[in-house]
């Protein structure tokens, strides 16, 4: 017996947003009856604002597949397509108060249906539908999908890959190939992570800080009506000047802290940011 949360039980027994939409603006379909689960997502999209005004679903599958589908429709209603695309499979699981690990593939299916529906609306093809080489013959799962889900959910074991994608859950014949993919991805990553950070010269450090502020931080602040300028770098102290909305904002400290966090992550742990 699976340990389902009350939320999963509730949305399974009394699912919201069930059925076909009349004249949907977009449909996203993933899975198949052979796989044991399938989800068809229907969207109404406001053409002016690109906002999802209604979302419904039809799902063939187990309790957590039905609950995940219902959760997805609840989450994305009212969001713009871009906002909706930021919803991850973990968000769907979180909305449900968590899913048993073996059932995480249900949340992945939700995320995929959403991608398919948005792609369908925009007239493109969903990311993985036609790409890649089929690894799991039982459930028709491609290497592209496996790689993508491994990265997005930081999966480390074959068991988790099966839990999240179902690949390897049928005859188990593809388990060695999944192991290979895991090894490829993580040894690459490990090499990246393991590389000791080169000690930067002062000039390199200042130009890197400058570049990050220009390319990553300013655009963010500008979109909120603010701005920032690099004033000076004194040893490990980065002095910035907040402009526009940011200057008057009570959250100026928070903004400075956020800049510091970003710079610590990308340049050096030792940096401290001070606003002028």
């Amino acid at each position: 017996m699976w340990e389902y949360t009350d939320k999963v039980r509730d949305l399974f027994l009394h699912p919201k947003n069930v059925g076909e939409l009349e004249k949907p603006d977009s449909v996203g379909e993933v899975g198949s009856i052979v796989c044991g689960d399938a989800l068809k997502l229907f969207l109404k999209v406001d053409k002016e604002t690109n906002r999802i005004t209604d979302a419904t679903f039809q799902t063939f599958g187990c309790a957590s597949a039905i609950a995940s589908s219902s959760a997805l429709t609840e989450i994305i209603k009212g969001k713009t397509l871009d906002e909706a695309l930021k919803v991850t499979n973990q968000d769907i699981a979180d909305f449900l108060g968590g899913l048993p690990r073996e059932k995480m593939h249900c949340s992945v299916m939700g995320r995929e249906a959403l991608e398919a529906a948005v792609a369908n609306y925009r007239g493109g093809k969903p990311r993985e539908a036609e790409e890649g080489e089929i690894i799991c013959q039982c459930y028709g799962i491609t290497d592209q999908k496996i790689k993508h889900v491994i990265m997005e959910n930081k999966l480390r074991t074959v068991e988790d890959v099966t839990n999240y994608t179902k690949a390897g859950g049928g005859c188990g014949g593809c388990v060695p190939e999944i192991e290979k993919i895991l090894k490829e991805i993580w040894s690459e990553k490990i090499i990246e992570e393991g590389k000791p950070k080169k000690r930067l010269t002062n000039i390199q450090k200042i130009s890197l800080i400058k570049e990050i502020i220009e390319k990553e931080i300013r655009p963010l602040l500008q979109s909120d009506g603010g701005d920032v300028e690099l004033v000076d770098v004194d040893g490990n102290i980065v002095i910035v000047s907040l402009r526009g909305m940011c200057r008057e904002c009570l959250m100026a400290d928070v903004t400075a802290k956020n800049i510091e966090k970003k710079l610590k992550e990308l340049v050096s742990e030792e940096l401290v940011v001070e606003a002028e």
């Binding site: 039980r9 069930v18 379909e29 044991g36 399938a38 039809q58 073996e102 179902k166």
Partner: protein
């Protein structure tokens, strides 16, 4: 709310008489049957009574019964023993639809260098006896074929199987966990060397089983230690459960005719009713040769776990061969071996009855099930494919 329990191939309710028979051994009669003092020693007599009761159910001699901890232990013990006495033979013959207790044991032996033949079954779950005949070689150490399948309920023709295997002089083991108490069994007329039984499938507690070893069969213990069970199975006896198992066998013998009349009638009414009220459903397994208590039905376009959890809301208990209920994402190996399409396996539900079931139980399922299937089909993108 009353529980409508239709999952008796998984486990059964402990019969009241069984519980009563056990109680003294869970309270004042706690002595060790191996002890010298009367207080402990007197317990031993009750184990021997239980042995007689188990033997009586299958017409064996009490000395042919070894108590174990479960059906799985009985299976493992039998196969290990057979292999031990044929060290030069490296082939095991079994079927694709065995219980994991045999199936995974064989897979483990494969990794140790044994050759395994897994006999296929046809669409109705039947074995091809010609296949069996031609698969036995001079290298075959043991043949292990279940009597009836726990998922489909299909019964294998044990008499004919035994004749074939014994004519080649090979040791034959049978997992009869699902048939004890449901079909008459007479080991005097069956040339089977070893047979496995489990207590909790016939209304005794979990944690007790038995292995029948025909007189004259060479036997080597699996669990090694003390002298219990005549040196054939070490470990202090699970006295209360053994006593309960004995009582359960006595009851099973008494109720055996009911299985074929009362239980069969309830099962048939349930099955016919569901097939009639739920479109696109069909029975899995050989209806000609099937346990009287089991019905395995596939409901197309819906998924088994969803069906079970909807039934759960009405306290109706059943099980499914769907991948989502297996804990491993792997759909039922039995139904797959029978060539049941994946789409049908996902929507398979097994109902298994017992003498405790009533007409009201069946009425409730017949009332609830069509709505459950209909609602889940309305939820499903394939719902429209249902024939109108």
């Amino acid at each position: 709310m009353k529980v409508v329990y239709l999952d008796n191939n998984a486990t059964t309710r402990i019969a009241d008489e069984v519980r009563e028979a056990m109680m003294p051994f869970l309270t004042e009669l706690y002595g060790n049957p191996s002890s010298m003092h009367t207080f402990g020693g007197q317990v031993h007599r009750h184990i021997e009574v239980a042995r007689e009761q188990v033997a009586a159910l299958i017409n064996a001699e009490p000395g042919e019964i070894i108590f174990t901890s479960c059906g799985t232990e009985s299976d493992n013990t039998a196969l290990m023993s057979a292999l031990e006495f044929a060290p030069q033979k490296k082939h095991i013959l079994t079927t694709r639809v065995e219980h994991p207790a045999v199936l995974n044991f064989c897979k483990a032996m494969y990794r140790k260098g044994y050759k395994i033949t897994f006999l296929p079954v046809n669409k109705s779950g039947r074995l091809d006896l010609e296949d069996l005949k031609s698969s036995i070689t001079d290298d075959t150490a043991v043949v292990s074929i279940m009597h009836a399948n726990n998922e489909s309920g299909v019964i294998f023709p044990l008499n004919e199987i035994a004749d074939i295997v014994k004519s080649r002089g090979v040791v034959l083991h049978t997992d009869a966990v699902q048939t004890a108490g449901k079909l008459p069994l007479d080991v005097r007329k069956l040339p089977v060397d070893m047979m496995s039984f489990s207590g909790h499938k016939i209304h005794s507690p979990k944690g007790v089983g038995a292995l029948y070893v025909k007189r004259g069969t060479r036997f080597s213990p699996y669990i090694i230690g003390g002298h219990q069970e005549g040196g054939r199975r070490a470990g202090t006896e699970n006295v209360a459960s053994i006593v309960g198992f004995g009582k359960a066998c006595e009851l099973a013998k008494k109720y055996l005719p009911d299985e074929n009349t009362k239980v069969r009638a309830l099962r048939d009414r349930l099955e016919q009713g569901l097939l009639k009220t739920c479109p696109d459903s069909r029975v899995n397994g050989d209806v000609e040769s099937r346990l009287p208590n089991t019905s395995n039905i596939s409901f197309e376009f819906v998924e088994g776990e969803a069906i079970l959890l909807r039934l759960n809301e009405y306290n109706i208990c059943a099980s499914s061969g769907s991948a989502c209920t297996s804990g491993s994402l792997e759909p039922s190996h039995v139904l797959r071996s029978m060539g049941v399409p994946f789409t049908m396996i996902h929507g398979s539900v097994r109902f298994s009855l017992s003498v405790n079931n009533t007409d009201e139980d069946i009425d409730l399922v017949l009332k609830i099930m069509p709505g459950v299937i209909k609602e889940l089909r309305e939820l499903s993108p394939y719902g429209r494919e249902v024939k109108k």
